[in-house]
Symmetry: C2
């Protein structure tokens, strides 16, 4: 058989601080409001994707986390179709860098996450960003790709950039102006730290696709939020990021998380993503900040009970001790801290008293400590390809 053309790339997870919830177009994935996110560092959380093309391949195939999946999934097909269309267009425009021989070839795609699915993090954002970025490399497509990633999974468009990223909702019916844009690079705010508090899963939450459909159909508060609240918050949030104003950034992040969950509750039937562990984290953060008389820590929650915490480097050691105190972990095995190393800090009795919550044993499984990071990258080392020279996964689960 022909030696396949193989490319491997990685892409990051992103966490929205101004939330996206609700589509105005389900097919093209056009949102009812703009949103803004922080790209997490790939050292802690990333998707790796290898794409191979070969004349010998009989059909498009995909393996996700070691298991072959259905390639006919409509959103996967959208991304494949769009990339191939752009590649054909470039060839038609006479760009010599496009390898026209491979254009008619079938693709094999293999993708894995370096973080457990149980983390409940929006893996589809990193997944589709990585898919689109890798396919573009394979087919020699350059330029704006967030509009294609968006058609795989809305928030994937924000994972196409590092640092602080806005997804501008756009106005056009064809979605051409609904794109992600970097607000500031990952080097802009080096003191910012992110802690992912993985809640011990109690039950599977409502999926975000069906959840936001129901919300758009039934919540009048969501409509108001999208039209009258978010536009102002986007401006405020961009300014807070640019000024590196932690208190402003943190308060707006918390308010926006709360408002998103409020619109879920205003949905009929209501959707609950926050559980008692999430409520305890929220109380803990507000009491911690109140104790110090300043906003040192912020929470945000996506469509699940896990908290993502923002704070500054200097406050990390104490705050993780606080978390460990109020969510005593399982003692028998399992690593509680993952990611960037955290120095030990002592916890004062005064602070414990000021917070004054009843500890919830085992409420949190583990903490991943990370920071803002770069956008998608090409992996140059060929030994790291997930597909072998036969075009099949090197490792399957």
């Amino acid at each position: 058989m022909d030696k396949p053309n193989i490319v491997t790339c990685t892409a990051p997870v992103n966490i929205a601080v101004i939330k996206y919830w609700g589509k105005r177009d389900e097919e093209l994935i056009l949102p009812i409001n703009s949103s803004l996110s922080v790209t997490l560092h790939q050292e802690q959380l990333k998707t790796t994707t290898t794409v191979a093309t070969s004349r010998s391949f009989q059909e498009d195939r995909i393996w996700l986390n070691g298991k072959e999946e259905d390639i006919t999934h409509p959103r996967l097909q959208s991304c494949l179709r769009e990339i191939r269309r752009l590649a054909r267009k470039r060839r038609g425009d006479g760009d010599p860098s496009v390898d026209s021989t491979g254009l008619s070839h079938k693709v094999h795609i293999c993708s894995v996450n370096n973080f457990p699915t149980a983390a409940g993090l929006a893996s589809s954002a990193a997944g589709f960003a990585c898919l689109v970025y890798t396919l573009a490399r394979v087919f020699g497509v350059e330029g704006e790709l967030s509009g294609i990633a968006r058609q795989g999974s809305g928030s994937a468009c924000r994972s196409m950039y590092g640092g602080f990223v806005q997804w501008i909702m756009g106005k056009k019916d064809d979605g051409k102006d609904s794109l992600a844009q970097q607000v500031e690079p990952e080097t802009h705010w080096p003191e910012l730290r992110i802690l992912v508090l993985v809640a011990s899963a109690e039950r599977k939450p409502v999926g975000s696709t069906s959840g936001m459909q129901t919300s758009v159909q039934t919540s009048s508060l969501l409509k108001h939020r999208a039209e009258s609240v978010v536009p102002g918050r986007m401006v405020e949030m961009i300014e807070a990021v640019q000024r590196k104003d932690f208190a402003a950034f943190a308060e707006l992040t918390m308010k926006d998380s709360n408002q998103f969950h409020a619109t879920c509750l205003d949905t009929y039937p209501p959707i609950f993503y926050l559980n008692s562990v999430s409520q305890q984290v929220i109380s803990l953060v507000h009491r911690y900040n109140r104790h110090y008389g300043e906003t040192r820590v912020a929470y945000t929650f996506d469509a699940g009970p896990n908290a993502v915490i923002f704070t500054l480097q200097q406050h990390v050691p104490e705050f993780v001790q606080v978390v460990q105190h109020f969510f005593p972990p399982e003692t028998n095995g399992g690593q509680f801290f993952k990611g960037l190393p955290v120095n030990h800090a002592a916890l004062s009795e005064e602070l414990k008293q000021a917070i004054g919550l009843e500890p919830m044993p085992k409420g949190i499984s583990y903490i991943i400590s990370t920071k803002a990071g770069p956008g998608p990258c090409v992996v140059e080392d060929p030994t790291l390809h997930l597909l072998g020279s036969t075009g099949l996964p090197k490792n399957t689960v």
Copy 2:
């Protein structure tokens, strides 16, 4: 000493189905939106108040549930002042029915509830309604009294009438047009039943006075709700009550409860009144209704975790079995069912499976079964006075 003039009255609790949350005037207790409630039957839940006046009394005094309380409480003073002002006005107008001799006398007030405070029900509504109604009798004041009760506790104005009651928010700055009005009497919908599911209290929730202040100050969704959502809902709800359209009444009730709690979550810092027991009741009701393909049961929650359930008489026996199954009560003593007797019903495996929730043992302490009832009443039997001929409470705790 002079024989005191003694009057005893009772007044009901009410449960809002279109919620009141947020004041436009803290002093006069003028709301930012209209609301609508069902008056609960006094056989299950009532406040009894005795007021005595005598030339011999040295000062105004009050005993609540057997304990003397501070009479200088501003809202108590508002009610006393307003009733005395109206009485003086009537005397000035030359109404012969006003007993002008008692007008300068001090009052002794004694008030008790026939339901445990632990029930977490809005006892201040029944309490202030009863106070105002009884004072009015003592001082010979007649006519519209809901505007005075409102100044004791906003929702108390709705407890001045039986059946289905709206509190029209009014527009005037002096609050003269912010009054309660009966929509339909308690005889209008005899099949309607109400179950109070008293959640095992975990923690004391945020008080409603301070909670709604924070919400008005910080929640943009609350403002939108008051201005743009509630006016339409009031019209819809009144029509649903008048048509006795249970499905319409029930759905609007659930949506409005959810939206109120959504605005609490949109408050900064957020307020949580719903806990995991409340969330389980909400899921249970929606799954129960879905199983039957019709809306047979509705929930509503005030500023606490207790659910109030509306249903029709025919569905009560089965639904209470459902509650008992998914919230297995404590086995060692304690009465689980209180109030109107409930027939036994069998619970099909099919229904249990369809609901499919994990039972929460002891999540609910007990259920009070009741129905719509009348407004405040005079107690004619003098042996039932709470104050003796000395003007002091007959029983103190």
